[in-house]
């Protein structure tokens, strides 16, 4: 009986430890990689010229990234425009990597991760800026337009991965949630992310 209790106690403490460890993962932590061998199926047939569409979308994003970056840091006021290296440097630590010399499949997987990372981050930035800079309509418009293109790109990349490479699942990570941060930090994180996005999207667009 005592042994049973001990075992039960050990099990309970182990489960508690597991629970604690699980709880330490914040919203910004990458999701656990769960390899899924499920069959890949898309709801609608993919476009025949999918890669071309992906290239065009990347070119479109690359073409507007710098303007978006400038609009953003200008709207934040001083000291952002004059301290870009310190406040808007592309030092986002958990940003998904991209290897331009990889295979098409690996590049598409990495692109998927990047877009999946950027999508919610752009959503956070848009939400914050609507509160912090309610009159910066041009910035809001450009943020929304970029997010729209990213949604389409994500769908296209998934279609390509599914159809050609039969990849049904890609583990993704998300950027930090800014909802609990102070306003200055929100501005800074947004600026850093857009700086990183501008840098990365140029490489990605070139790679495709």
């Amino acid at each position: 009986m005592k042994q049973c209790r001990r075992i039960w106690t050990i099990l309970r403490e182990f489960l508690s430890l597991l629970l604690v460890l699980h709880c330490t993962h914040g919203a910004g932590s990458p999701l656990p990689i769960t390899p899924v061998n499920a069959t890949c199926a898309t709801r609608h047939p993919c476009h025949s010229n999918l890669m071309n569409q992906i290239r065009n979308q990347l070119a479109q994003l690359n073409g507007s990234a710098n303007a978006l970056f400038i609009l953003y840091y200008t709207a934040q006021g001083e000291p952002f425009p004059n301290n870009l290296d310190k406040l808007c440097g592309p030092n986002v630590t958990d940003f998904p990597p991209f290897h331009a010399n990889g295979t098409e499949k690996s590049r598409l997987v990495e692109l998927y991760r990047i877009i999946a990372y950027l999508g919610p981050s752009l959503g956070n930035i848009t939400r914050d800026q609507k509160v912090l800079n309610p009159n910066a309509l041009s910035l809001h418009s450009k943020l929304n337009a970029t997010a729209d293109i990213m949604r389409g790109l994500l769908s296209n990349v998934l279609c390509r991965l599914c159809n050609k490479y039969h990849v049904a699942h890609v583990d993704v990570a998300y950027g930090p949630d800014t909802s609990g941060k102070d306003v200055f930090q929100k501005k800074k994180l947004g600026c850093q992310l857009l700086g990183k996005y501008k840098q990365v999207i140029a490489v990605v667009a070139q790679a495709f």
Binding site: Q76, G77, E78, P79, K86, P134, D182, V183, F184, K187
Partner: protein, 976 residues
């Protein structure tokens, strides 16, 4: 006292079995300890008994110390929240206590706040107190402690403080992480005009940190080596997106910042008012005032509280709120409107009686009944307000846009009003609004409707006149009448009745019914007397008849026509009063006298009137108008009294012409056959079958003078021709120059020079102008025989050939001396006159100088012909130039470097050829040189002609490059 405290502590220790247990465990000797414990307990109980006795005896207050002090931190609002309990308080006992709270900053000895907090403490009550720090709590650590004392009146003085609690440290800094630099407070929200304290905290005090607000560096005070504090006083509102304040750390370049949100001052609601429209719902409204500028961060809230009922409503709109009234149970209302945001709360109050705030709804169902020509019954309904509430309604009647009647009516449910004194066949607008009759608060909105009164029979007879013409023995009578005014017609005129009554024959009447809107009719009548009755008719009845009588006598008696002068106001007419009875006067005229249709007008005047002013827009300047003044007898027979004629505006010496343009699409019209240099005025007006339009603005035109036109016709082509010639001359100036005044040849460019050079004679000398003898030619060439002696011996005195004739020696009518340079510029010589060119062959030219026969031969061949073409009597001289010989020119060189005779002879001689010679001139060769043969004697003895070749050449080179040589009669030759 000290002892007693110690006892108490011992007591507490004794009362804690866990501690005792620990104590026993630590000692490891239970038996002696148990004995000791029993002894101790006994001792303590004894002491407690003693103390209780003492407290009862001395009434010493119980030291009720605060316990379980907990401090929570509200970083956003920079507040410390303290909560604690008071132990040892008797069950169900209440005690007034005072708690002294001390707050220190950085270290415990640095007390920055001391406050006594008095409250009534109940048993087991949790006490709370909070404190707001000006400095952000993250900037440095704070320490809190407190002690208590009794403040109850039951406890007599002196009262004593209890012990201090231990210092509780409030260290927010520990949660900051390991950032090298932090700035506080984060996202601070303040009102404009507030003071804000900002700080930065750095991990190392070795760094150089500078802070900026709105891009401008600010300076603070060092709180400790790692903390710097900035006091921002009276902060202004800058923008709704906040103000960035940041600090930059060097080295490293770390930038940390905060956003400071400054709002405008939250204003108190204005014009707070409540009213009801049905005694069931109260509608409260207010003006929220100016926006704070930070609506996202500071959303205002509005709450309505009624003190009598104790009810509260959270308003969902920022300027109005509805409240369910209870008219049966509550009549008085005392409202408090509380407006607030995170920074400020504002309240306004309103006390009123519900029945005094009734704003009725607009009346409805407005109707007009029994509408007659002059009256109408107006009815309407009102929304009920409570039971039997009386409303006061206001009715306004509008006619032609103006208020013509205003009445007040008391109404309970249905309103009714009889509107009187209306005009027949007139449209009216009536509007009604209501207010509470007992306690006026506010009028309702207007409700309006319109109606038209019924028709009545026309009240006035039409104004009638006639025009009588005699056509083929019959009378053609045109009967005119003017339409009745609206007031007179009292309805829509449908037709006019014309009744003809023959006064001379049997009593017969003829009725003509003429439908409206006709205003005339033509009647063919015989020469009997007729009485004509004209009436206007509408749907209700007939107007009184207008009567006019046509007598048998035409009544065209001779009346002298008088002049009348028109003004801009019209024609002022007057006439003599008639001795016999008249019922009135008629003034008649044609508005368009030049038009065959005439457009007859008349003006009816009363019997006592003897003057009037006739005005019309149709009157035109320069048009003569004729006026006839008739008197109307009692028999209604008109008879002519006076004639007047005149112009509304006379135009002096002007003639008025009228052109009719029949094509309405025509846009231009040329007025021909106008007089030159005359002033005209034009105006254009459209016309229809009804007549002409209003007088337009005159356009003034002055025609041009006829002579000036002719002059222009001549002068302009002349100027153009001259201009053309000038341009041509300018363009062909070079050609003109060559043809008319060619350049005098430059001796330096002569081929002779090249010949000289070819002979390698370096001594080239040019004639000096000062040696020039203008009226004599120095003969330097001698006869061939003497040439050798000239070279070999000293230069002899030069022989002069005088060019200009003296008074004695000049025999001819007009000398003409021609100098010609045969060396070159043959074309120029030819162009200037009929002088032949030089001999083509150089040897023969040279030979000319050596042989007088050759000279004569050459000249005889050329000059005779040329001179023969010059008209006799002209005094012009043709000057034949001579190129100076470089060899002969330099006198000084002559002895040393004598020229070759042949070279010297290369220069042609200057010769004067009298114009008057009919035969080949007897030209004396220069080498023979006799001044007496010269037709042009020297003007003065002192002057000499440039016979020396070099002198002559110099003059030419200095002055004559672009000019030419001329020789005036009776004067020296000169260089141009």
């Amino acid at each position: 006292m000290f002892v007693l405290r110690g006892v108490q502590r011992h007591l507490r220790f004794a009362q804690r079995p866990d501690l005792n247990e620990k104590f026993y465990k630590m000692s490891g000797k239970p038996e002696p300890m148990a004995v000791f414990s029993v002894f101790q307990t006994t001792f303590l109980l004894a002491l407690l008994s003693l103390r209780m006795y003492q407290s009862q005896v001395f009434s010493e207050p119980l030291p009720l110390a605060p316990k379980s002090l907990e401090i929570s931190i509200d970083s956003t609002h920079q507040r410390l929240h303290l909560q604690w309990r008071v132990h040892n308080l008797a069950y169900h006992r209440e005690l007034k206590m005072v708690f002294q709270i001390e707050i220190s900053r950085i270290k415990t000895s640095n007390v920055i706040w001391v406050e006594n907090y008095s409250t009534t403490v109940k048993w087991n009550q949790v006490l709370r107190w909070s404190w707001e720090s000006q400095l952000p709590l993250e900037c440095t650590q704070h320490f809190v402690r407190m002690r208590s004392g009794a403040a109850d009146a039951q406890i007599p003085e002196p009262r004593f403080w209890g012990d201090w609690t231990s210092w509780e440290e409030v260290a927010v800094q520990s949660s900051l992480g390991h950032h090298p630099l932090s700035v506080f407070p984060k996202d601070k929200l303040v009102e404009e005009g507030s003071n804000v304290t900002v700080c930065y905290v750095s991990r190392s005090h070795h760094n150089n940190i500078s802070c900026y607000l709105e891009g401008i560096q600010i300076h603070g005070e060092q709180l400790d080596p790692n903390v710097c504090v900035f006091h921002l006083n009276n902060v202004p509102f800058i923008r709704d997106t906040g103000t960035n304040m940041y600090c930059k750390m060097d080295p490293g370049g770390v930038i940390k910042g905060i956003v400071l949100f400054v709002s405008k001052v939250f204003e108190e609601p204005k014009d707070f008012s409540c009213e009801t429209r049905d005694l069931k719902t109260l509608s409260c409204t207010w003006d929220p005032g100016k926006d704070t500028g930070l609506l996202t961060q500071l959303s205002p809230s509005y709450t309505l509280f009624e003190s009598f009922s104790g009810k509260k409503v959270i308003c969902t709109h920022k300027s109005w709120c509805d409240w369910q009234a209870a008219p049966d149970s509550q009549e008085m209302y005392n409202f408090t409107l509380t407006a607030g945001n995170d920074l400020r709360k504002r309240s306004v109050h309103l006390l009123f009686n519900l029945t005094h705030r009734v704003h009725p709804m607009a009346p409805f169902n407005v109707l007009f009944k029994n509408v007659s020509p002059t009256n109408a019954a107006m009815t309407w309904r009102v929304h009920s307000i409570g039971n039997y509430s009386t409303l006061l309604c206001q009715v306004e009647l509008y006619g032609e846009g103006k208020v013509i009647q205003k009445q007040n009516v008391s109404v309970v449910a249905n309103g009714e009003l009889l509107v009187r004194n209306l005009e027949p066949y007139t449209e009216y607008v009536a509007q009604v609004r209501c207010a509470h009759a007992s306690h006026f608060w506010r009028w309702s909105e207007w409700t309006r409707d319109n109606f038209t009164t019924a028709e009545a029979a026309p009240s006035e007879a039409p104004d009638v006149w006639r025009e009588v013409k005699s056509v083929q023995g019959h009378r053609v009578v045109t009967l005119f009448w003017k339409p009745l005014s609206k007031l007179q017609a009292k309805g829509k005129i449908l037709f006019y009745n014309v009744v003809l009554e023959n006064l001379d024959g049997p009593s017969t009447m003829k009725l003509l019914s003429i439908p409206a809107p006709a205003n005339c009719t033509e009647l063919a009548l015989d020469h009997h007397s007729y009485q004509i009755h004209v009436t206007a008719n509408n749907s209700v009845g007939t107007s009184p008849a207008a009567v006019i009588t046509l007598s048998r006598d035409p009544g065209n008696k001779d009346v002298e026509e008088a002049r009348v002068k028109g003004t801009k106001d019209g024609f002022s007419l007057s006439w003599k009063p008639q001795p016999r009875d008249v019922t009135g006067y008629i003034v008649e005229w044609c508005e368009h006298p030049r038009d065959p249709r005439c457009d007859l007008q008349w003006k009816s005047l009363g019997p006592n009137t003897t003057s009037t002013v006739v005005s019309s827009d149709a009157f035109r300047p320069g048009v003569r108008y004729n006026f006839r003044i008739y008197g109307i007898s009692t028999e209604r027979i008109p008879y002519l009294l006076e004639k007047k004629t005149g112009y509304s505006q006379e135009l002096d010496g002007s003639v008025c012409c009228k052109y009719k343009i029949d094509n309405p699409k025509q846009k231009t019209f040329v007025v021909q056959n106008l007089q030159p240099a005359s002033f005209y005025e034009f105006f254009l007006t459209p016309y229809t079958s009804a007549g002409e339009g209003p007088l337009g603005t005159f356009t003034k035109v002055t025609t041009q003078d006829e002579y000036s036109r002719i002059l222009i016709r001549i002068l302009v082509p002349m100027i153009l021709c001259i201009l053309l010639l000038t341009i041509l001359c300018y363009l062909k100036s070079q050609w003109m120059k060559e043809k008319c005044y060619p350049d005098i040849p430059d001796p330096y460019k002569s081929s002779v020079l090249s010949l000289i050079k070819s002979k390698e004679n370096p001594r080239l000398t040019i004639m000096n102008v000062k040696d020039c003898v203008p009226d004599a030619i120095e003969v330097i060439n001698k006869r061939e025989g003497a040439r050798k002696s000239l070279i070999e011996t000293e230069p002899t005195k030069p022989t002069y050939l005088h060019l200009l004739p003296t008074e004695k020696s000049y025999p001819g009518p007009g000398p003409c001396i021609c100098f010609e340079n045969f060396t070159y510029n043959q074309a120029a010589s030819e162009s200037c006159g009929p002088v032949p060119g030089p001999p083509k062959e150089q040897p023969s030219q040279l030979g000319l100088l050596t042989s007088s026969e050759n000279v004569l031969k050459a000249l005889g061949k050329t000059y005779v012909n040329s001179l023969g073409e010059i008209p006799a009597g002209e005094t012009n001289l043709n000057y034949v130039s001579q190129l100076a010989s470089p060899l002969c020119g330099d006198k000084s060189s002559l002895p040393t470097n004598p020229p070759e005779p042949a070279l010297c002879s290369e220069y042609k001689m200057q010769m004067a050829i009298p114009m008057g010679l009919a035969s080949p001139p007897s030209i004396t060769p220069l080498d023979e040189g006799a001044a007496a043969h010269s037709p042009c004697p020297p003007r003065s003895s002192g002057s000499r002609c440039a016979a020396h070749g070099e002198q002559f050449a110099q003059v030419q080179s200095e002055r004559g490059r672009a000019g030419r040589w001329t020789l005036h009669p009776g004067w020296n030759f000169q260089c141009q």
